[in-house]
Symmetry: none
């Protein structure tokens, strides 16, 4: 239930990041954004960075406290750098998303993102049932807040696609008008005609010994067989062969 | 081999996006950035958005053309929206990353990111062996370029971590006899040499008009790029071209 998955940005300093986060969400088909005391919102910079995702900003719910943002949620996860000795379970995005997908079927789930400078405070962490750690570079883990939203939204999108196998098939089949092109693939006969023509041409230009063409022909066949040539490509190749033969005579 | 994984940003309009991309890379422990004709670089906005990842910007390689950026790469992948009726294999990030991790053991691999407004041009797509599609919202697929870098870098980081765990090492060692063969793939330079030779040969045998070779060359390039030619195959093809040219004279 996408409607039950809520992205919560807390005290975000730069409105541009709110806009970027909205865009990140929309590219992954999420639209439920909560803003807890944003420092500047609404703001032109947010709109600019949202690009075509202005509707996510328009529909964003602005509240004063984290408690309000998560009041009706039965699962709250917080994104943070990996911490030692904490009480919360710490999951990677992919593991977290599994649980989010399961639970969001029955109730709202919130994913919290802290400020640019310090992330989630201890009080905010206390609201979380589970922490999500993006496995960043140990020497530089400074993920931009909108980038963190992008990664989580991307994982949610992958989970949604793989869960809804039906939707996925539909997506694939909507991209399937490859069929048209498929039907343009050369047949086996046409392929063999091209290989035979290549052999004659190579004899005509003295590239192969007509008595022992096998080895080279096998290599040429194996090369072209690795792709599925279209009818058009076969025609181009045979056109080149014919031109070379004509010149050779 | 992280050093062999190259992020290539092409004609990026906003320096802030270059900075954000650098930060995205560094959070995931990548550091090999190429910039093809960036519109403004170096730039304060890039430095500001890079936050603590200024070293990635300082070490970025700035070049004029995509060809320079990929000259020594034997595998080139381009990020794009999902397209209908194209001849390239189109992979999701996770699938693409599997191949990138395998191949970067033996040679440089490039991942291309196009401009903010239009993505990769047809000419740039022609340089690619494979396309990567992030599975975005069908109704709003407008992923910011730095966000796309973030997602790819994140997937590369996950792959690296799971490789470190050894599971992947075992997989690689069982598939290791491919290593020799992989290292035989032609580089981009060798490929371009073959295409230039094909062009000369086709002119010599009167197959193409030397003033308007573009359309046909694009088709030939796209055909051979799907094959991923080995060094040996490039030599065979160039041998055939040379024989045809000799006969034509």
């Amino acid at each position: 239930m996408k409607k039950n998955i809520r992205i919560v940005l807390i005290n975000t300093s730069h409105p541009g990041n709110i806009g970027s986060a909205a865009r990140a969400m929309k590219t992954m088909a999420l639209d439920n954004l909560y803003l807890v005391s944003p420092q500047k919102f609404p703001d032109d910079q947010a709109v600019a960075m949202a690009s075509g995702a202005g509707d996510i900003l328009d529909n964003a719910v602005v509240v004063d406290t984290v408690e309000e943002a998560i009041a009706d949620c039965a699962l709250v996860m917080g994104t943070s750098a990996r911490m030692r000795r904490v009480r919360w379970p710490q999951l990677e995005p992919r593991e977290a998303v599994e649980q989010i997908m399961e639970e969001s079927v029955s109730h709202p789930v919130a994913i919290l993102f802290g400020t640019e400078r310090i992330g989630l405070t201890n009080e905010e962490l206390d609201c979380c049932h589970t922490l999500i750690n993006v496995p960043t570079n140990p020497e530089y883990g400074s993920l931009n807040v909108a980038s963190a939203v992008q990664i989580m939204s991307y994982e949610l999108r992958l989970a949604e696609l793989s869960e809804d196998e039906g939707a996925r098939k539909a997506l694939l089949s909507s991209a399937a008008p490859n069929e048209k092109e498929d039907s343009d693939f050369a047949t086996s006969d046409e392929f063999e005609g091209m290989i035979a023509h290549a052999e004659k041409m190579m004899v005509d230009v003295d590239f192969i010994d007509p008595n022992h063409p096998e080895k080279l022909l096998r290599q040429i066949r194996s090369m072209f067989n690795r792709i599925r040539l279209t009818k058009r490509e076969i025609n181009i190749l045979r056109g080149i062969y014919a031109a070379a033969q004509k010149k050779a005579k």
